[in-house]
């Protein structure tokens, strides 16, 4: 079995501030980390590897320093690491990113592709589904657990966490999973893997390797335009009304039409 895990390097958003004047992210001096959701996807891939045996390949698209997230993946037990880096990939939105990643994944021809639910910097949750759509993979989002993976029968059974409640589904391989944080606890690297990761020289793929249409890559291939970024206004605490039970019924009746009209305005 071959599993590709997509890992994005993101700024540590616990440290990110938005410049109140320019409304842009203050990235200066903010450390980069592997996207936490992606690490849970990696952990699930490694658990599948532990149970059934698999080759786990970590793939990251980004500038050369994204090698750090690949080192992290190898320290935890990924077998191989591929860095997609090329000037033409730069400035990509989710559309162009999924195009580039799909191009790389197509060359690897895996049974499973694992992604985090979303990246903590953009929070779009679009790249995983984008890859699945482009490659015609079965798309399984919000996965919290795998129950069975059968490469022979080309079948996977996973549990998804949906708003209505948990859902267990069987689906055909090859599939793409996007994974939630509650799926697992990330392991502690063994010393041999850690040493391997320190020595890691990842494979570096540029667009010469991928051979994708440069017009569809990077900034050029990105239809998304960011119109505005702003800090959401702080939520004010709700109004507290204390009254007897009968009074409350009356007050609620009075307030409801007002709240409804405000809500419809907001929409």
């Amino acid at each position: 079995m071959k599993i590709v895990v997509c890992i994005k390097q993101v700024p540590d958003t616990t440290d990110v501030k938005i410049d109140p004047v320019t409304n842009t992210l203050v990235r200066e001096g903010v450390p980069s980390i592997p996207n936490p959701y992606d690490m849970h996807a990696l952990e699930m891939a490694l658990q599948i590897k532990d149970k059934y045996g698999a080759d786990v390949i970590a793939v990251s698209m980004g500038p050369p320093q994204a090698i750090d997230v690949l080192k992290k993946a190898v320290s935890l037990g990924a077998d191989e690491a591929i860095l997609l880096t090329d000037r033409v990939f730069a400035g990509a939105d989710t559309w162009a990113t999924s195009y580039a990643l799909a191009g790389a994944i197509a060359k690897l021809n895996p049974d499973l592709v694992m992604c985090g639910k979303q990246a903590i910097d953009g929070d779009t949750a679009q790249v995983g589904p984008g890859i699945a759509t482009r490659l015609g993979l079965t798309q399984l989002t919000y996965v919290v657990n795998f129950k069975n993976v059968d490469v022979e029968k080309k079948e996977i059974v996973v549990e998804r966490k949906l708003e209505e409640g948990p859902e267990t589904v069987a689906a055909r391989l090859p599939a793409l999973l996007t994974v939630l944080k509650e799926a697992n606890e990330i392991r502690y690297a063994s010393l041999p893997n850690l040493i391997k990761s320190v020595k890691l020289e990842p494979q570096v793929w540029d667009n010469k390797v991928l051979g994708l249409d440069p017009d569809l890559l990077g900034l050029k291939g990105s239809p998304t335009q960011v119109v505005k970024i702003f800090s959401p206004p702080l939520r004010e605490g709700g109004k507290l009304i204390s009254a007897s039970e009968e009074e409350i019924v009356k007050i609620v009746d009075q307030l409801m039409p007002q709240i409804r009209s405000e809500a419809s305005c907001a929409i």
Partner: protein, 433 residues
């Protein structure tokens, strides 16, 4: 098969360990540098000064590339009473020219750079890994370490314990008894952000130059310790450290003491408008020569804080650490040439230290703490005496100077009698001279 055998293992990527690893790597040894923190410097705390001499011997002309905050061009010493200060300062162009004397640094940045230099020279850096124990062969010689990770053994004919004041490794190896509260200081420190030009103005600084202020007297409430303010580019390192047993006996909380110090009428105006960025606390090994553990055994060396190498009276520690790390490295390079890692061969390290300022200075001040603990009037009464004397002498009030001197002498004798003064002078000379 993953390689877990090295020519040497250094535990702890602080000034001592990184110096040791860098010097060994430079001479071609395959050395592992193991650090428990997330990144180099993440666990490391000091007042905030590094000294040129020792670093320059390891990374020549380091100032051209190291992330330094400011070059310390002026050293100030304050003696505070409740509301006054007498200050002594020394400023010289010599301090402000290469190779400089000392520089202020922020450890999170500096240590990353320093470890980067060691890696550049070929050291194999293993991060986020706690070393828990030594591995011995059947003759009891140390031949490696056990880390907290799965399959976590590393092997080398010699191990350098540079894992700091509370050295887990030398404890595990049976070198280090539990630290006694008399032999360590607890220091707390805040990093306070302030615009650069405000720092220039408040501290009267030119360009990239900075100053250090060491503060004695009222602020430690009679506890054996000092406060400090060091200037960085756009922050100040402000802190106070006292002997651990004093914190306990005086029932003082570090947080309260640093707050009181920051609100002292003389200190407060210098910090106004500053914003606290970080709050740090750390132990400093202040036991000195008398409390030094064994530093050498078969396949094992102890360097830096782990070996109690701090000259607290002079606020020196990082330089002793770097020098001891370098000497440990030089000893190991020799040992590799001879293929002999016995305590006898490695005792070259001890001889090198003995001949250097490291042990000479520690020996010189071996009794200074015990002396201060027994003569607390030096920390309380004397700052008060000199402040009163200064106020009296400098007040222009029509009283003839000759009478003023007599008055000062009389009020001094009220606080400490003549015999006491003579005794203090003599014993101070014995302890520090």
């Amino acid at each position: 098969m993953i390689e877990n055998k090295f020519d040497a293992i250094v535990v702890g990527a602080g000034p001592a360990g990184t110096s040791a690893a860098l010097v060994m790597a430079q001479s071609g040894l395959n050395v592992a540098l193991v650090e428990r923190g997330d990144f180099p410097g993440s666990k490391n705390v000091m007042g905030g000064q590094i000294y040129s001499k020792s670093l320059n011997e390891i990374v020549p002309e380091f100032w051209k590339e190291a992330p330094l905050e400011r070059v310390v061009a002026e050293k100030r010493f304050w003696f505070l009473s409740k509301d006054s200060k007498v200050s002594v300062a020394h400023k010289t162009p010599k301090f402000a020219q290469p190779p400089y004397n000392s520089c202020t640094v922020l450890r999170a940045k500096f240590d990353k750079w320093f470890v980067g230099k060691a890696i550049e020279k070929g050291a194999f850096y293993i991060p986020e890994t706690l070393v828990e124990d030594v591995i011995r062969d059947n003759k009891g010689r140390i031949i490696g370490v056990k880390t907290g990770r799965a399959e976590g053994e590393l092997y080398a004919p010699v191990v350098v314990a540079a894992d700091g004041v509370n050295s887990l490794l030398s404890k595990a190896a049976g070198f280090h008894p539990e630290l006694s509260p008399e032999n360590v200081a607890l220091a707390v420190k805040e990093i306070i952000a302030m615009p650069r030009n405000r720092i220039q103005d408040l501290f009267d600084l030119e360009g990239e130059q900075g100053c250090t202020i060491e503060i004695a007297g009222e602020i430690t409430k009679g506890m054996v310790g000092v406060g400090f303010i060091y200037t960085n580019k756009t922050t100040l390192s402000v802190g106070v450290g006292c002997i651990l047993s004093d914190w306990v006996n005086y029932k003082m909380s570090p947080y309260d003491l640093i707050e009181e110090m920051k609100n002292h009428p003389v200190v407060k105006p210098l910090l106004e408008g500053g914003q606290i960025r970080e709050y740090l606390a750390h132990l400093i090994p202040e036991g000195g020569y008398n409390a030094m553990p064994l530093l050498v055994s078969d396949g094992f060396l102890v360097a830096g804080d782990a070996g109690m190498m701090v000259n607290g009276l002079h606020q020196e520690g990082s330089n002793l650490a770097m020098t001891s790390g370098k000497m440990a490295a030089e000893t190991i390079i020799e040992a590799h040439k001879k293929g002999d890692f016995s305590a006898r061969c490695l005792s070259l390290y001890k001889r090198k230290l003995d001949e250097s300022y490291v042990i000479k200075d520690l020996k010189k001040y071996r009794n200074s703490y015990a002396y201060l603990e027994g003569n607390r009037q030096l920390l309380t009464t004397y700052p008060e005496i000199i402040n009163n004397a200064a106020t009296e002498f400098l007040t222009v009030d029509g009283v003839p100077k000759w009478e003023k001197q007599k008055k000062i002498f009389r009020s001094t004798l009220k606080k400490r009698n003549l015999w006491g003064l003579i005794k203090d002078a003599y014993s101070a000379w014995r302890a520090f001279g």
